[in-house]
Structure formats: structure tokens, C-alpha cells
């Protein structure tokens, strides 16, 4: 995505300025951590949505990806 806009022939890689990166990091980072949270921890240790449906639905994935499940 962003990196596609930067360098050409890669003799000397050009760093992407932090200011260009920052909004991506903040929004993308939060969104993706939330995704991991839902697969990994929702309705186990803590819960945003009541009930156990999310937990049970991703149950096998959670076990096999190595998160503590129950």
C-alpha cells in the first residue's frame, strides 16, 4: 500500500516519513488489534458483547492459534 509509492530501483531504500505513516499506524493498528482481540480474547477473560457466541464460534481457531481459551 504505502510502500508502493516510495522507491524505484532499490539501490538505496528511501524511508517513508513518519508523518506520512502515522495515520495509517494509528487507525490500522487499532482496527487490527481489535480484530485480534475478538478472535483471541473476547468472551473468555473479558467480554464486550454478552453471551458466548463469539467465543464458541471461533473456539477451535483460538485453541489452535495458541490463545488461552478456557
Amino acid at each position: 500500500m504505502i510502500n508502493a509509492a516510495v522507491a524505484g530501483p532499490v539501490a538505496q531504500p528511501v524511508p517513508i516519513p513518519v508523518r506520512t505513516l502515522l495515520p495509517w499506524v494509528i487507525f490500522g493498528g487499532i482496527m487490527m488489534l481489535l480484530m485480534i482481540y475478538f478472535v483471541g480474547a473476547e468472551e473468555g477473560a473479558t467480554s464486550i458483547i454478552s453471551g458466548m457466541y463469539v467465543h464458541e464460534y471461533v473456539h477451535d481457531g483460538r485453541h489452535l492459534l495458541g490463545f488461552p481459551c478456557h
Binding site: N3, V14, L33, M35, V39, G44, T46, L65, C69
Partner: protein, 238 residues
């Protein structure tokens, strides 16, 4: 975006692996759990989501969401690291970052708090175990960062090879100290078949190798290709 797309591909492969090698172990563990419950005279747990759904579409969703997110975060780290970690091309950098991620986010935490199949673990301690697990992941990432920075600082004086060795040793020491200090969790039931546990953990690790391996290699390949395809845009940022 590319990171997330590659994440989906990696997730599909990881799902295939999980389905083939992981699910039989999960099924065995659940059979064990039901037998124990039956022996205690407890009624079997009600199934909110059927086993068929859990082991197919549920597993697929979980793995894909997870790997897409990992892929997205990976591309953010890549975008930051590119051009900042010396003169290294996108393909090599991508492979290197994936190896670092696999080591620090998966392998090191697994050594202390390995993946557990169903029926291993006391439900009352789930809060504590989840906290410890994520603390271990954070410590591992911090230790890796510190070690890499230390290694790079030492490089001009001691040469790249020795500096890398010192940095690696520092990482090992930091992790050893952290793992000794963090409390142990051992909640495997005495009767639980050891072979199932071992195979489950190997499968869990295998899934992550497939996932991170695909991520590192495919992302690097695609990035290198798109960079050589669009040299004109270089002017914009210089």
C-alpha cells in the same frame, strides 16, 4: 492493503494446515473431556455452536481474521522499517521481519505458555492466564526491540557479526529472566494423553510457521515486484 490480502492467503494456507493436523487433536481432546465429564456424572456441556461449525467455518473465520490483522500490522511495520534498517531490499526485509515476528510473537511466548487443547486449563484462571500470555508477548517484543537497537549501536565498534551475536545473547538473557520471573501455569489434567497434547502443540506451532512463512515470502515478492514496476513515482517523495 497488500499486507491484509497476503494475510488472507496466508490464513487460507494456515487453515488448511489447521484442518488437517490440528482438528484431529482437538477432537481427541474433546472426546477426553466428555469421558471425564461422564465419569464424574456431569451432563455434557450444551453446544451453543455445533462442532461441525466450530471445526470448519468457525475455524476458518478465526484464522482468516487473525491472519488478516497480522498481515496488516506486518505491512505497517514493514513500511516503517523499510529504508531504516540499512541497505536491504524489500524481499529480504520482509523475510527477516516475518522471522523476527514468528520468533518474538509466537515461539518465545509459546515456550512459556504453550497452546492448549480443549479440556486443559482451569476455567477459573482464564483471566490470569490471558493476562500472563499477553504480558509475555509484550515482554518478548520489547526484548527484541532492545536487543536490535543494542546490536545496531555496537555494530560500528565491534563489527556487524559480533554486534549481532551480542544482541542475540542479550535477547536470550532478557527472555530467560522474564520467563523465570513470570509464574508457571500447569493445569494439564493428570490423565490427559501426552501424545495428544504434544501433537496439538506441534500442530499449533506449524500453523504459525505456515502463516508467517507465507506472509514473509509472499509480501516480499509482491512488494519487490510492484516497486520495480513503478519507478516513476519515486520523484513524488524525494
Amino acid at each position: 492493503m497488500r499486507g491484509m490480502l497476503v494475510g488472507i492467503v496466508a490464513g487460507l494456507l494456515a487453515f488448511g494446515f489447521a484442518k488437517t493436523f490440528g482438528e484431529p487433536q482437538v477432537d481427541r481432546a474433546i472426546t477426553f473431556e466428555s469421558q471425564i465429564d461422564a465419569a464424574k456424572g456431569e451432563a455434557p456441556e450444551p453446544e451453543l455452536v455445533s462442532r461441525e461449525v466450530q471445526s470448519s467455518i468457525g475455524l476458518l473465520t478465526g484464522v482468516i481474521v487473525y491472519s488478516t490483522a497480522i498481515g496488516g500490522l506486518f505491512s505497517l511495520v514493514f513500511a516503517y522499517a523499510y529504508g531504516r534498517v540499512g541497505n536491504i531490499g524489500p524481499r529480504a526485509l520482509s523475510a527477516l521481519l516475518a522471522a523476527a515476528g514468528l520468533l518474538s510473537i509466537i515461539i518465545v511466548p509459546e515456550l512459556k505458555y504453550p497452546a492448549n487443547p480443549p479440556s486443559v486449563g482451569n476455567p477459573d484462571t482464564i483471566g490470569l492466564r490471558t493476562e500472563l500470555y499477553f504480558v509475555m508477548v509484550l515482554i518478548s517484543l520489547a526484548a527484541l526491540t532492545v536487543s536490535v537497537i543494542a546490536g545496531r549501536r555496537l555494530a560500528p565498534r565491534h563489527g556487524a557479526w559480533n554486534a549481532t551475536l551480542i544482541g542475540s545473547a542479550l535477547f536470550v538473557v532478557l527472555i530467560a529472566v522474564a520467563q523465570i520471573l513470570l509464574r508457571d501455569i500447569n493445569e494439564v489434567p493428570a490423565e490427559f494423553p501426552a501424545v495428544v497434547l504434544w501433537r496439538f502443540r506441534v500442530a499449533a506451532l506449524g500453523i504459525q510457521f505456515v502463516l508467517w512463512g507465507t506472509l514473509g515470502l509472499l509480501f516480499g515478492y509482491l512488494t519487490e515486484r510492484s516497486m520495480s514496476a513503478t519507478p516513476a513515482r519515486r520523484v513524488v517523495y524525494q
